[in-house]
Amino acid sequence: METFLQLVVNGVGKGAVFALLALGFVVIFKATEVVNFAHGSLVLVGGYLVVVTRDSLGWVGAAVVGIVSAGLLALLVERLLLSRSKLADANSLALLTIGLDVIITEEIVRRLGVTVPFLGEAWDAQPIQVGGLTLFRTHLVAIGVGAVLVTAFFLAFRYSNWGVAMRAQAENREAAALMGIRSSRVTATAWLVAGLLAGVAVLFIATQDFSGSGLSRGTHSIALAAFPAAILGGLDSTAGAVVGGLVVGLTEALSAQYISFDFSKSAVFLVMLVVLVVRPSGLFGTRESTRV
């Protein structure tokens, strides 16, 4: 029982990070119907800049630089590439992000070379013991930061002008544009927000407590595991992203313990497959229907 509780705690801690990543996919998909395959590379860029600037700026300064740069890079990608290709449909733009992902990831991995630096130095000192449970600080901070960011996101989505514009655009792009919503601005902010979330997430991923390994190609593949989170929650559902993140975190933690460590990566994808077979648009996604 104690092991199980411990696993659940770990799973939720990881799940909070996956939720942040999944939210990044969802924000972009909602605004533009584009699936951003380059999300993993945004994660890497954020982490890399933390590593580079850490010595001169200190951890907090470096973290800010990393987060902001990931956000700006996402914004740049949208402004320079995606917004210019009005002809291409959402699916080909998703393919375009695959190309981008290859370039950015290869470059960051090349720059890292053989070094695999850890990022989470501000807190991952000693785990805390509560009863029989070990609480990793990275997980605690991740849950805290995740909760704050997700709440802020939901509030903004519900009440701010940006949120209203975003929801209107997600509902019907043309109608929203006719009502005077600047679709380019909504799209750009969506990418910026997704990039910022990726920059935050990497601070937790490349730590001893979370993955046990530092920033490397492996970080990119952990970010890839947020894909099933976004999909099984439903690509156009923000609440789904959070639920999906937690499901992925728990699945990974539990299957690593009860089945095998090797299996845990596939387990996440298998759970997603099962969900998709039952509900093809994810748990909370909008169903597409066609009339014949």
Partner: protein, 384 residues
Amino acid sequence: METTTPAPVATPPARRSTARPIRAAAWIALVVLLAALPLYIDTAWLKAGQYMMIGAVGAIGLTLLTGQAGQLSLAHAFFLLVGATGYTVLSGPTDDDRVIGLGLDPGLALIGAVVISALVGLAFAPVAGRLRGIYLGVASLSLVFLGLYFGQSLDALTGGTSTGRTPATFELFGFPFSNGGPEIELMGVPIRAAERIWYLFLILTAIAFLLARGAVRGRVGRSWRAVRDNEAAATAMGVGVARAKAGAFAVSSAFAGLAGVMTVLWFDILKPDESEYGTYGINVSIAFLAMVIIGGLGSVPGAVVGALIVHGLPQALTLFSGDLGWFSETGGGGLTPILVSSFIYGAAIVVVVLFEPGGLAAIGRRLTGLFRARPREITREETS
């Protein structure tokens, strides 16, 4: 293409009679050139060419699925692994305690591996049939992760990640595609393993190409495109959507399986991946997708050209760099031929999506259109 346009009365037969022989001559010249190459280029370049042909076979399969039938798949690397494992197990020696082998004739094993890949693809069809677009893309990605797991855990089949296992030498009616067997010389050039496998791959690629082109031009291809363009409309026209989708998945998997058999013959070892970035990993799925996008989604010749670029660049760069002293920087942070070609094909995807969604195939059509521009206008005037 010409056959579908209503035949106008006067000049077109004359034009066709000149265009056909030119086209046929070009094909014959290409075949002669490819058949003669082993007599002139050395083993390293032959190996590079073989690698491009592996890419071509796989890319042809993926362009049918993703381009013609409109189903995004990132599972291609998984089916490569299925084909590679299928061949190795079917043709493997029966007396090895460590791994399972059925001792079949390698020719039969090749066919068996392709059939197995198709069946596995068919088994995924119920899932694929329910999903669309990106959802399918990510769902298919799960197969790559499953492949990674099976590669590690089913070491009686795959030989395990640490050692792998050696595939049986390919043989056809007792003729080995290795350095052994009868010694053959052609114009003073000994035909050994590299040359023999070149011809084997060339024939396999040609078969793949012709089958795919036949499918695209025929009834099957029409049903795939109907499903791609509008499922509801396809149903209304009497196309069995589920059947067409499942068929496309099975056919594409069969091509990938064949590419897998070729891969294991090329490396001469079956070695499952230790991480998801290996011979059968995500990066391979993406490389195949890159070939298909760069070539122009749905175009069979385009897929082949895409494969020449994506699989050819790292090989060619490696061979050239040896002579020219490029990429001499060693250790972490250096540029390698593989890295450089990743940059190039990553950029090529971006450029193609932004500027020429039809890919190289569209550019090719435009180029041939330049030469045809005048006669086409004349026919238009005459038909109107």
